[in-house]
């Protein structure tokens, strides 16, 4: 028991980070499932984090309310900016959302209430393991249900072929906006949870680099199922810690592993189709059938 207490004391923040990153990867998975390559999720995370932190620090709201506000604030922003930007597609959308991320960062940098470049410190530690677990499980369940729903099928149709989807009577704009906004909610939640587990937030945590980090996690894990993004987030968060014994070489080894995955598993680590094939091949070999 003492061994577990020691382990938990040492690694609780790391485990929290895994959960929060998984939530972020899922948020991007949702927008990607509708064929939207968005780089705005880091900014949504930041909006959620700042909203939540400010409500806790200044208005002393109860934590559940803070989490709700942290999820709704980026959703409102997503609704406003989504309408014009989601007309774009592919790399143009990526650029527009990237610009939005930069605008958000510079705004936060220059506002008085957000503490400018110095950020906000002294945020109380309110996030516990079950908050993260509960939210992650709820998000996972909701997304799994969503995939099989009318809306989820519509997302998939839009991703595969927008014109065909429109011909079938799917409201393309409405569904895109829904995917974008729901993604923002998840990212905002992740931001609120993160702000209340690390004591401190600053604008540089929600910039371009972080947007790319989220994208890497999602793509590395694979977007063919919900397990992929969670797996990608877990690996990318834990790998640097597991490689700590390599000291100065760990970032290099970390990078090499990523290159290896991208070269040899371009569809991500968790590709349901490939896994099914593998399992099938293994079964036929064992049962001796041709």
């Amino acid at each position: 028991m003492e061994a577990f207490a020691d382990f938990w004391a040492t690694y609780s923040t790391l485990i929290f980070t895994v959960g929060i990153h998984a939530l972020l990867a899922l948020s991007l998975w949702l927008t990607l499932s509708c064929g939207l390559l968005s780089l705005a999720n880091a900014a949504f995370m930041g909006i959620g984090a700042y909203t939540a932190a400010l409500l806790t620090l200044h208005l002393h709201w109860p934590f559940p309310m803070v989490l709700v506000a942290g999820a709704l604030a980026p959703a409102a922003v997503a609704l406003v900016i989504g309408a014009p930007t989601l007309r774009l597609s592919g790399v143009y959308l990526a650029m527009a959302t990237l610009a939005f991320g930069e605008v958000t960062r510079i705004l936060v940098l220059n506002l008085e209430i957000t503490g400018g470049p110095e950020g906000l410190n002294g945020i109380p530690l309110l996030t516990t393991w079950w908050h993260i677990l509960l939210i992650l499980a709820a998000a996972g369940f909701a997304l799994a249900r969503l995939r099989r729903s009318r809306m989820g099928r519509a997302f998939e149709a839009i991703r595969e072929d927008e014109v065909a989807a429109r011909m079938m009577g799917i409201d393309v704009e409405g569904h895109k906006l829904a995917a974008f906004t729901l993604g923002a909610i998840l990212a905002g939640l992740a931001g609120a949870l993160n702000a209340h587990s690390t004591f401190f937030i600053s604008p540089r945590e929600y910039g371009f680099e972080n947007a790319v980090d989220i994208l890497t996690m999602t793509i590395l894990g694979g977007i063919s199922s919900l397990i992929g993004p969670v797996l990608g987030a877990t690996i990318l968060t834990l790998l640097p810690e597991l490689l700590r014994f390599l000291h100065a070489y760990r970032l290099a080894v970390n990078g090499l592993i990523l290159i290896g995955v991208v070269l040899f598993l371009p569809t991500g680590l968790w590709d349901s189709r490939r896994l099914r094939q593998l399992v099938g091949a293994w079964r036929t070999r064992r049962e001796g059938k041709p």
Partner: protein, 384 residues
């Protein structure tokens, strides 16, 4: 993880267990050794290592050897927390030096404070660091201690009546420097003709400088990092702006002269450490550092070197029992009493007051050195 790596890990772990015999004093070092902040983190680590090696070579502390557990916190807040927790709960160190950046300290400091372990910053200059709790220490001199002296010295020397201000407004370090300058100028009742801003990475400051020139100030106060400040000085001279500059801690880098050459003549800068300070402690440090690392030390290495000496003095005054919790507490009690004269000059701690009005952590109580730039070099200002 395959079996081979597992074995390797076990071997490494048992090796560590063997090397850390009773009588070793484990000190955690959490500094940014990779990433952007490594330019500060690496000299800091070197400073610690140099001091610890010297102490061990002289027989250690009351017969016990100092063992440094060095971890890279990459200048990221999550990493800083992870490293702090690893050092506190797994390596069971007596105290932790670091992290490198103020931001990381804001994230990791509360962890150490809650675990009742001393976190000793040697490079955190932001306001509010030591206010986080009684276990937070630093020997880095805050801008609010340096800048008033810099400004008043320059004002006296140049007979300054009014100044213009320019600063980088997207960086925590330069922005907090500006806040201090603003307060100092208000306190010393020096009117500001105009306040201009730029962002990190800017290369053209002519618009701001033209405005500044139009207000005809006696001096230009600049809170910026060396890279931007150097370009700024060159362009100011190009526009015919002759007023001298007054800089913050960000100016304290040889990089300033790589670009500015002699454009910065007459600039006043305050620093917690003087390379040429003739005290034996400093001369010894400069020579030993050069010999060990083959490079010139900087203020960060000097402050780290002094911090280790301060911790060693505190460790010497306590009886180490081997019970980690008791030893940590004893060390925490002994640290504030240390006062000594190191590479950065005479040093003692000053207790700060927390947000709740209770006594909190400890700041450095030290006098800064004032430099003036002459012939493209920092020269200690002696009143002439």
């Amino acid at each position: 993880m395959n079996r081979a790596t597992k074995h390797l890990l076990f071997a490494a772990a048992s090796l560590l267990a063997v090397s850390a015999v009773a009588g070793d004093l484990k000190i955690g070092i959490a500094e940014a050794l990779t990433g952007g902040a490594a330019q500060y983190g690496v000299p800091i680590r070197n400073g610690f290592q140099l001091a610890a090696d010297e102490i061990n070579a002289k027989g250690g502390i009351n017969g016990n050897k100092l063992v440094l557990v060095v971890e890279d916190e990459q200048g990221k807040k999550e990493e800083a927390i992870n490293v702090f927790k690893k050092l506190i709960f797994q390596d069971k160190v007596l105290m932790i030096f670091g992290p490198t950046l103020s931001n990381s300290m804001f994230a990791a400091g509360p962890v150490a404070n809650a675990a009742k372990v001393v976190a000793f910053g040697t490079s955190n200059t932001a306001n509010g660091i030591s206010e986080m709790g009684p276990y937070i220490f630093r020997n880095s001199v805050m801008e609010s201690d340096v800048l008033p002296v810099t400004v008043s010295t320059a004002v006296k020397h140049y007979k300054i009546k009014k100044v213009a201000v320019i600063y980088g407004n997207d960086d925590a370090f330069t922005k907090s420097g500006y806040d201090v300058f603003k307060k100092v100028l208000e306190d010393q009742k020096i009117p500001v003709t105009t306040t201009e801003t730029y962002v990190k990475g800017d290369v053209d400051f002519k618009a701001q400088l033209t405005k500044i020139k139009a207000t005809n100030p006696d001096a230009v106060i600049c809170s910026g990092l060396a890279e931007e400040a150097a370009t700024l000085m060159v362009q100011a001279r190009g526009l015919g702006l002759k007023a001298p500059f007054i800089g913050g801690n960000g100016f304290n880098s040889p990089k300033l002269f790589e670009v500015s050459k002699t454009a910065g003549e007459g600039t006043f800068v305050g620093s917690p450490w003087a390379n040429t300070n003739p005290t034996p402690a400093n001369q010894h440090f400069v020579a030993a550092y050069k010999q060990k690392y083959g490079a010139e030390p900087n203020q960060f290495a000097a402050q780290a070197y002094d911090a280790m000496t301060i911790a060693a003095a505190a460790l010497k005054s306590i009886k180490v029992t081997g019970n980690v919790a008791n030893d940590r507490e004893a060390l925490h009690g002994a640290l504030p009493k240390v006062s000594l004269s190191g590479a950065t000059g005479p040093f003692k701690f000053r207790q700060s007051v927390g947000k709740d009005g209770k006594p909190a952590g400890y700041d450095a109580d030290q006098k800064p050195f004032i430099y003036v730039i002459r012939d493209g070099k920092f020269v200690l200002f002696t009143g002439k």
